[in-house]
Symmetry: C2
Subunit: 305 residues, 2 copies
């Protein structure tokens, strides 16, 4: 009798083990959001299902700021620029008299932004060489699990961010497992030229593409040429990307991360200056998109939690 | 004695079989061009070699017209446009009085081209929906073998073409095994807009990017964000792409297909209006790039040869 019980327990443990080991999205509580993701992936990957999507068409697009990593209290790229301007200032004495650099060195971010788009491009150009991301904010853990889970199911994952493409590319592969060629962002115009017999690409002080809001579906078409079947964002800047994704035929997943967790991360939405989520919340409710409630749906936010 | 001989023969056959089955580039004669390709791939893939390149950095870029398929006597895309204008004319009675359509319907290609870039964009916009490539010219066989061989060695293959991106994307996956998101070409500006509550991307009559000559390295950086280690072209329009590729550090392969075979395909170079190869031939000689002599180096050109 005892030996039979032991056998039953052993069998239970053995049969549980692989299921447990393979259980996806462990940092997600088993709420409606997690269920919506699992159900969607199940539908598009089940051979013979009417919603089956062949592997090459399993395109998933992710916003970066506020979705894959934190964007509060200030965009990482902005913090990075400020740090870099300060670090590089000794080599550039002219910056103390020249905006936008002078304003930044005085701690006057508003003044720096007053120099407009051209000023921003100058800043990015001056600060974005040889950067690493070790000093950056934490990457959100569940989104890494989600990236892994989708890729394990044949998805090709892309970043579609308002951030600078050249700012992201040096580290996205290491941090997210997303190669530079699957990174779509804001770009400056480039010029190819020969200098002393050597070819080089020079960044021009004009903007080629602003990959935000209506620019996101444009960037997606220009770069991927297929409509994604899944899109993940957190703000009104992602609304058009989600609209474009979910307007396609067949099973689609549009998901908003709603920052509701002031304790572990940040809580902000309709009134925020960074990552405002206002129209998006309304449209998500009207269209039945998935809205992650960070406080409720995630049992961990950062790897250190 | 006999049985020993049989055993030796059997062992020889067995040990030969896999090598023979796996022999790369069977349509290429074993000349210097083929050897250069094999040597390059051997160097960048040999673990421990000083020239070893990790898989994610094995980026290879291919021109399309004249490299992956024929471009003589006229670009396939141009032939396609003419066919489509004729086929669609009954639905567009206004075309008989409106250039560039009127000129094309009269068989006056020169007149059609006189309407300049805007006319060309109008033509492409009007004719490039729902197209297939069944009526197109043959794909060059050895380049398919080369694509396969590189991919089998961990390379990611991209098309970098002066042709329209939206013209190529519907069929490149089927024909070349290259997905739409690895297809870089000439693009029109796009505008995202909502129409009757549905999102759509509208092509504008302005050019976003001309992916030819100095535009090729720009397209490569914009799209891939890594410098390729191998580049394949056939004309002066590919020169900057090859310069950009081979100016990088480490082992590089820059290869020109020189059309020298008037009997099986076409023979043209310095004087040709389509696919002129003039400066490129000089630079290839000066820089030691590989130049394929189609007549000498390829034992087949098309699958039907």
């Amino acid at each position: 009798m005892l030996s039979r019980l032991v056998a039953v327990i052993l069998v239970s443990l053995i049969s549980l083990a692989p299921a447990r080991g393979a259980e996806p999205l462990p940092s997600w509580n088993d709420t409606a959001s997690r269920q919506a993701i699992l159900r969607f992936v199940g539908r598009v990957t089940a051979a013979g299902s009417t919603d089956f999507v062949p592997v090459p068409e399993r395109i998933a697009v992710f916003d970066n700021d506020g979705t894959l990593w934190s964007e509060q209290p200030v965009y990482n790229q902005a913090a990075f620029i400020v740090d870099r301007v300060k670090a590089l200032a000794p080599e550039h004495p002219e910056w103390t008299a020249k905006d936008p650099f002078a304003s930044i060195l005085k701690g006057d971010l508003k003044g720096a932004l007053a120099s407009g788009e051209q000023g921003l491009v100058e800043l990015v150009t001056a600060t974005h060489s040889g950067m690493t991301t070790d000093e950056f904010g934490a990457t959100v853990d569940q989104m890494l699990e989600l990236l892994d889970y989708l890729r394990a199911n044949g998805f090709k994952t892309f970043i579609v961010s308002g951030g600078g493409t050249d700012f992201m590319r040096p580290w996205v592969e290491r941090v997210y497992g997303i190669p530079p060629e699957q990174t779509i962002g804001t770009t400056a115009d480039l010029k190819f030229e020969m200098q002393d017999g050597k070819p080089r690409l020079r960044k021009l002080p004009t903007v080629d593409h602003v990959d935000d809001k209506a620019g996101k579906p444009v960037g997606i078409h220009r770069h991927i040429g297929r409509r994604p079947i899944a899109a993940f964002g957190n703000s009104d800047g992602d609304l058009q990307m989600l609209q474009w994704t979910c307007a396609g035929a067949g099973a689609r997943l549009c998901l908003y991360v709603h920052h509701t967790d002031a304790q572990r991360e940040w809580a902000y939405d309709r009134e925020s200056h960074i990552g405002r989520l206002d129209k998006g919340l309304d449209e998500a409710a009207a269209s039945g998109w998935t809205v992650v409630d960070m406080k409720r749906d995630w049992n961990r936010v950062f790897p250190t939690d």
